[in-house]
Amino acid sequence: MNRATSAFLAAVFTAICGAAAAEPPSTFPATPPAPGAAPTLSIPTPTSQTLPNGLRVISVRRDGLPLVTAQLVVRSGDEMDPPSQAGLADLTANLLTKGAAGLSAPQIAAAAETLGSSLSATAGWDESDVAITVTTPRLPQALALLAKVVRQPDFSAHELKRAQAQAIDDVRLNLSKPTALAGLVAARGTFGTGAYGHPRSGTPASIARIGRVDVQQWHAALYRPDNAILILAGDITPAQALQLAQTSFGDWPRPSAPLPARRPGSGDRSLPAMVLINQHGAGQAGVVAAHPAPPRSDGHYYDGLVADAVLGGSYSARLNEEIRIKRGLSYGAFSELQPLGNAGAWLASAQTRNPAVPQVVDLMLGQFRQLGDEKVSDAELAARKATLIGSYGRSLETTTGLATQLAELALYDVNLDEISRYPERVGAVTPHQLRKYARKHLRADEGTVVVVGDAGQFAAAMRKAYPKAVLLDAATLDLDRADLGAGAATH
């Protein structure tokens, strides 16, 4: 049938476009021309220095364009949120630019934008960041502004109130997206009551519980020079970087109190392995499958990166090949390894039409098994390593990309020389190491699969295939609780 159809179409093609689609001459090869000698990727060498107050200053030079990215990284993020105040690190970071050192929020915004870009302040799981990218002559002013917001924020009551209302709206917007909600529930399934288990940006209830004193205390305890890194990437020398850092941050006092202890990233896990969530009116279902993974300090980090690259790290990786390219079930299916400070997760996700959920879940789980069961071919491995290394090299082409890579290395106490060793490390991973990593970290009995969508179109089929699956409703989930407030349903 297919062959017959193709032959017929080929005929139509020739008939219709015979004139336009002329036969190529002999000078046009029938196979792709072979590549020339490979160019070498040159990665600039970073310099690291530490001020007397403990602030680590890292700079990397990339001239060509008169641009510099300045990024101040505080080595604490939402993993330090008290369990009842999920989103505290986010809210604190957000408030930095909403009044500081005698400047109001509009004045700070205007000052930054006059220099050329917005001053963005955000929190992640393990860090809080304030960053700005400006043309070189404006760097001293940009750093002075950055120092003001980091060191002397007002945290005024009226700004807190405004930021809370906005954060609650943002959370509501996010929860209306099927894959975003599935991701939050999958994180709960993976980390349970641990520090990485709660919704990182909080819930409407947890955000409302945060008071001004909480924000002030969080800032006082964690925003300090011996818990921070300043990164300057772009058109700047190490000597200039040190001098500018000294000017803006040299007199930032180091408190004598020790840094607060961290909670373990993972805790008690109480969600079932298959969670179905009905979201009224969802035009598509979001499917997220998560497994616990090692922290960034894991000695097999590069094995994990390469395993993830084969599984779903790019367009041509297996998940997208099976779910999108071969079957047209989704616009895209991908995976991501997320190694954090003291735990990690390995996530796969896809959005699909509601009735196709069982098939997409099957394909995902099948790919997890296959990665641990079968040896990856040399050709596939070489291709995915090239994808990974190429993408890494391109990420270093911009000043913000360079700053991001350095921030990650410094945050996780990795030797900065690793920035240029990445191609070699990725290249050294063997099929055996990859398979071993997959077998260990994609175990079926460790994973949590979460589907958010119009459950009427898939719940019955899913419960038949997975009798232990639970069905919840998006409108009644309590995301502040490790069991989602669904204790009754799961027992």
Partner: protein, 461 residues
């Protein structure tokens, strides 16, 4: 796009441009001119290139002068569906071989379809330049999609529709802007199309579309990054030179959008969006009218670029009626749109935001504009431009935008000077002419009536 959902074309890219340091500006920003080369092959293929050895990569882009405005009758979404099919088989390439020649060797590829253009873009280690030139010539000269590939890729595009329009809480709103903003011009068809029209598409449609629009005299090849110019010319001649130029004319959209005679208001139902929204649109002139469109882009930046902007300060910060606001000059080859929209804050209705949107725009159009504020808006746009030019891909996009949307590649270096010279008077003039003195369409985006979110019912008119 193959990987990312279709969004409103970011009009700021039009300012993907720079010139000699503008003497009149009080800014210390210096954006060096792009030193590009330009030539046209006898078969009509335009070739633009710019050398930049900052990284060992090269960007290869093919821009075709065809977009969703050229969708065949009853086939909305076709130009975009077609874009996906260009990754399937050709005379000498198997389906997805483009990925083998890019991703698998350390590069990347993607494509996008807009109202006016379709572009295919790759970035690869520079030793693969020859390979990619061959591959682009190959799919320009012979596309050979089979039925199974056609059907499975059409299903992918339907998932893209569901993801960007149905599952995105504000997808239906953005998808409703063009259909409600134009009455005659084919821009009124959304680029993503509809499930029904996609289902109606056939393989003969694909063949016909390729024959009609994918021809050397309707394409621009752009190469930026690490290459040798002489070698590039030789390869381009070898791989593209033989492709015949058809004798038939290229169909062009000739529709003109009539001037609006009255304001219009429509309501779109939000299925899953937790907060209502409101969007306003006005008609603006084509990109060729650079004096007015660049001033409109500065006006949009004054209104909505950054937290210090007028709309953010008024709606999000001071009155707190909105959670998000934006304004943009969506400049196109044909008539474009000036857009302003707000996603409401909890407890507020679209009319609260709508009133303030109009007030702020009128204020900007009529009252003095502080020189520092104007300078700030320009600085933001210029710094964006510098950031874009850090990569080969960014440089190539800047050239393509100038050549195909702006209509003249030289605009990559002249629009910046024009931007530097935009005055408060210019901002007043264009806002009064196209916005405050013209008719607008209002789209209310509201939850379904029966679920009755607060204050949503009474303002639908």
């Amino acid at each position: 796009m193959r990987l990312r959902p279709i969004v409103l074309l970011a009009s700021l890219i039009l300012l993907a441009a720079s010139g000699s340091p503008a003497p009149a500006a009080a800014t210390d920003l210096h954006v060096a001119p792009v030193r590009y080369q330009q030539r046209t092959l006898p078969n009509g293929l335009q070739v633009l290139s710019v050398e930049d050895h900052g990284s060992p990569n090269v960007a290869v882009q093919m821009w075709y002068h065809v977009g969703s405005k050229d969708d065949p009758k009853g086939r909305s979404g076709f130009a975009h569906l077609f874009e996906h099919l260009m990754f399937k088989s050709t005379r000498h390439m198997q389906a997805e071989q483009m990925d083998r020649l890019t991703e698998d060797v350390g590069g990347a590829n993607n494509a996008s379809t807009g109202d006016d253009v379709t572009n295919y873009f790759e970035v690869v280690p520079s030793n693969y330049l020859q390979t990619l030139l061959w591959a682009e010539a190959e799919r320009l000269s012979s596309l050979n999609v089979d039925e199974p590939n056609f059907k499975s890729e059409r299903a992918v595009v339907e998932e893209e529709y569901r993801q960007s329009v149905l599952a995105n809480p504000y997808g239906k709103l953005f998808n409703a802007i063009d259909p409600n903003s134009y009455t005659v011009h084919p821009y009124r068809r959304p680029t993503i199309g509809s499930i029904e029209d996609l289902e109606a598409a056939t393989l003969p449609d694909v063949i016909d579309f390729h024959r009609t629009f994918y021809r050397p005299d309707n394409a621009t090849l752009i190469v930026a990054g690490d290459f040798d110019p002489k070698q590039l010319d030789a390869w381009v001649d070898q791989y593209f030179g033989w492709i015949p130029k058809p004798s038939t004319p290229i169909p062009r959209v000739t529709a003109t959008e009539p001037k609006r005679r009255k304001n219009r208001r429509v309501t779109v139902t939000a299925d899953t969006a937790p907060l209502p929204a409101v969007a306003l649109s006005w008609l603006i002139p084509p990109a060729a009218d650079s004096a007015d469109t660049i001033a409109l882009q500065v006006a949009a930046a004054l209104l909505a670029r950054g937290d210090a902007s007028r709309l953010y300060q008024a709606l999000v910060y001071r009155h707190q009626v909105a959670r998000q606001v934006d304004a943009e000059a969506d400049v196109r080859v044909g008539p474009g749109l000036f857009l302003a929209y707000a996603i409401l804050a909890s407890g507020h209705a679209p009319e609260d935001a709508e009133k303030l949107l109009h007030e702020e725009i009128i204020w900007l159009a009529t009252q003095p504009i502080d020189a520092a504020e104007l300078e700030r808006a320009k600085t933001l746009l210029l710094t964006d431009e510098l950031k874009q030019r850090q990569t080969a891909q960014g440089l190539a996009f800047a050239l393509g935008q100038a050549a195909l949307i702006g209509g003249d590649v030289a605009r990559v270096n002249t629009d910046l000077a024009a931007l530097q010279q935009v005055s408060a008077k210019d901002v007043h003039r264009v806002l009064q002419k196209y916005v405050t003195g013209a008719r607008y369409v209002t789209i209310d985006y509201l939850p379904p009536a029966k679920t009755g979110a607060p204050a949503s019912g009474e303002n639908a008119k």
